[in-house]
């Protein structure tokens, strides 16, 4: 296989993911509406309850809507990663996963391509959200729209890779509800997405440390700083490390000799 053929394969996988996203209208709209509901209802409700003091990267007092916007961007990517994982479990149950896995390209490449495809979709969703959020006066510096891109790609990779790991370990579609309860909600709520960590620390030191080790916190902070043109090296390191770890686990999970696929026992 030549590099050109690798590129064609990647292009095909990304195109399929994009087509599925746009042609499944329910998924398309819910992905856009979900963060807006949080912004319009949740943030409006908490606007006067939670005061946000001046903390980096902000250099002034900010409304609560502005504070949670990066968390909602990370949430879009979290849901997208889980959605893509869900569709992989569905694909496997329905059989279409086999079409991907019998391709002559190496399996690590196919999984990485699948991951990149899901990241492309999540980054597009994130920018659509940023466009709409502008009307809520969430207006980071113009350059921030550019500097947030690498952060969105990196956090999208991490959350997409997490989705891949989960999809390789979930036996059936029915078990997916458990994942929502045990992965998505704890990750989202025990993070800096909805409230600054200094506030969490005031109420519970244990929760504060849970938030600190939660990679979702670092995805959120990476996006938050990048959106205001600043770098957050610790978060970037944690997100990159977690991406690598999740990817290794996913390749293991889908390995024909070792992973769960082999132990599961086919459709006989």
């Amino acid at each position: 296989m030549t590099p050109v053929q690798y590129a064609r394969c990647l292009g095909g996988i990304v195109t399929r993911e994009a087509l599925r996203w746009t042609q499944q209208r329910g998924r398309f709209f819910s992905a856009l509406v979900r963060p807006l509901v949080w912004l319009a209802i949740f943030a409006a409700g908490f606007h006067f309850v939670l005061g946000v003091s001046i903390i980096p990267p902000y250099d002034t007092y900010i409304p609560y809507e502005v504070y949670i916007a990066p968390g909602l961007l990370a949430m879009i990517q979290l849901f997208n990663g889980m959605q893509s994982s869900l569709s992989m479990v569905y694909d496997r149950e329905m059989g279409s996963m086999k079409t991907l896995l019998i391709s002559p390209f190496p399996r690590w490449f196919l999984l990485t391509a699948k991951l990149l495809a899901s990241v492309v979709v999540s980054v597009v969703q994130a920018y659509i959200f940023l466009g709409i959020a502008w009307f809520w006066e969430i207006d980071p510096p113009p350059l921030g729209y550019l500097t947030v891109l690498p952060a969105l790609i990196l956090s999208g990779l991490m959350l997409g890779a997490l989705g891949l790991v989960l999809s390789s370990f979930i036996r059936q579609l029915e078990n997916f509800a458990g994942v929502m309860n045990f992965v998505i909600f704890p990750m989202f709520f025990a993070s800096s997405a909805l409230y600054p960590l200094w506030r969490v620390k005031e109420s519970s030191l244990t929760l504060y440390w849970i938030c600190q080790v939660n990679p979702f916190t670092h995805a959120t902070e990476l996006i938050r700083f990048a959106l205001y043109g600043q770098a957050e090296p610790l978060s970037a390191g944690v997100v990159a490390g977690a991406t690598l770890l999740f990817m290794i686990l996913a390749v293991w999970g889908y390995d024909p000799g070792r992973g769960l696929l082999a132990r599961r026992g086919g459709g006989e």
């Binding site: 394969c9 329905m94 279409s96 896995l101 019998i102 391709s103 002559p104 132990r263 006989e268």
Partner: protein, 247 residues
């Protein structure tokens, strides 16, 4: 497709187990180009596991599989590039069009867009669905979907075609079409075909047959020879004798 070996598919001493449960025991057979070979076995005989191993969905614990001389463990890329597969379960994306499904498959084989479009057109023409190219798969009947899957398996021009229970759930006409089309491909293109089924009448006297029962090959060869060795007049009678009436 360049054939590095005259043997299209070589399976030797293949065994597999899920935990303590042995599913395949010392399975061995070869397929040569132009062969239409029916893998005959009841449900649970191990056909789908055999397909999963040959298509590298998982590795075999014991034994060796080679496609045109390419060992599946050592050279998986060359081996997989030479095979087209129709799985038992439908694997098309219902929300995408026929063209989009086939183009996706072509990209998974690294094919260029122009060549892919040409080959997709040719294969859809063969199965009589060229005019449904832009229809969503959801709008097609079961028989038409199966034909699309066959066209898809052939888009990258494989020299070995594997079909796992391809006629399950199809009406008589669709079933006939599929068998005739695949047999025609064997004669015309010299395609090697492994056709797994539990329907005995899908193996006529010109086919080769592998009788798989409880994970073991009980006999194999041209249908008349297998029948004769079992001391039976027909393949059905031979199958019953070999398997003890399917027990």
């Amino acid at each position: 497709m360049t054939a590095a070996s005259a043997v299209a598919l070589d399976v030797e001493g293949l065994s597999h187990a899920f935990g303590p449960r042995a599913v395949l025991r010392d399975v061995g057979f070869t397929l040569t180009p132009g062969d239409f070979t029916v893998l005959l076995g009841l449900n649970g005989a191990g056909k789908t596991t055999l397909f999963a191993l040959v298509t590298r969905l998982y590795h075999s614990r014991d034994g060796r599989i080679a496609v045109f001389g390419h060992d599946l463990r050592q050279q998986p890329s060359a081996a997989l590039a030479a095979m087209g597969v129709v799985f038992q379960q439908p694997t098309l994306d219902l929300d995408l069009t026929v063209q989009q499904n086939l183009a996706y498959h072509a990209s998974l084989h690294g094919m260029a867009g122009s060549r892919a479009r040409l080959r997709i057109g040719e294969e859809l023409e063969r199965v009589g669905l060229a005019d449904r190219r832009h229809s969503r798969v959801r709008q097609l009947s079961g028989g038409q979907r199966r034909r699309v899957e066959l066209a898809r398996a052939l888009v990258h021009d494989p020299a070995l075609l594997l079909l796992d229970e391809p006629t399950v759930g199809l009406d008589i006409e669709s079933r006939r079409f599929l068998i005739d089309h695949v047999r025609h491909l064997c004669r015309e293109r010299g395609l090697a075909v492994l056709w797994a089924t539990h329907l005995i009448d899908e193996a006529d006297d010109t086919a080769k047959v592998i009788v798989l029962h409880h994970g073991q090959v009980l006999d194999q060869g041209p249908v008349p020879q297998v029948a004769e060795r079992a001391g039976a007049g027909t393949l059905r009678a031979a199958f019953d004798r070999l398997t003890g009436g399917g027990r």
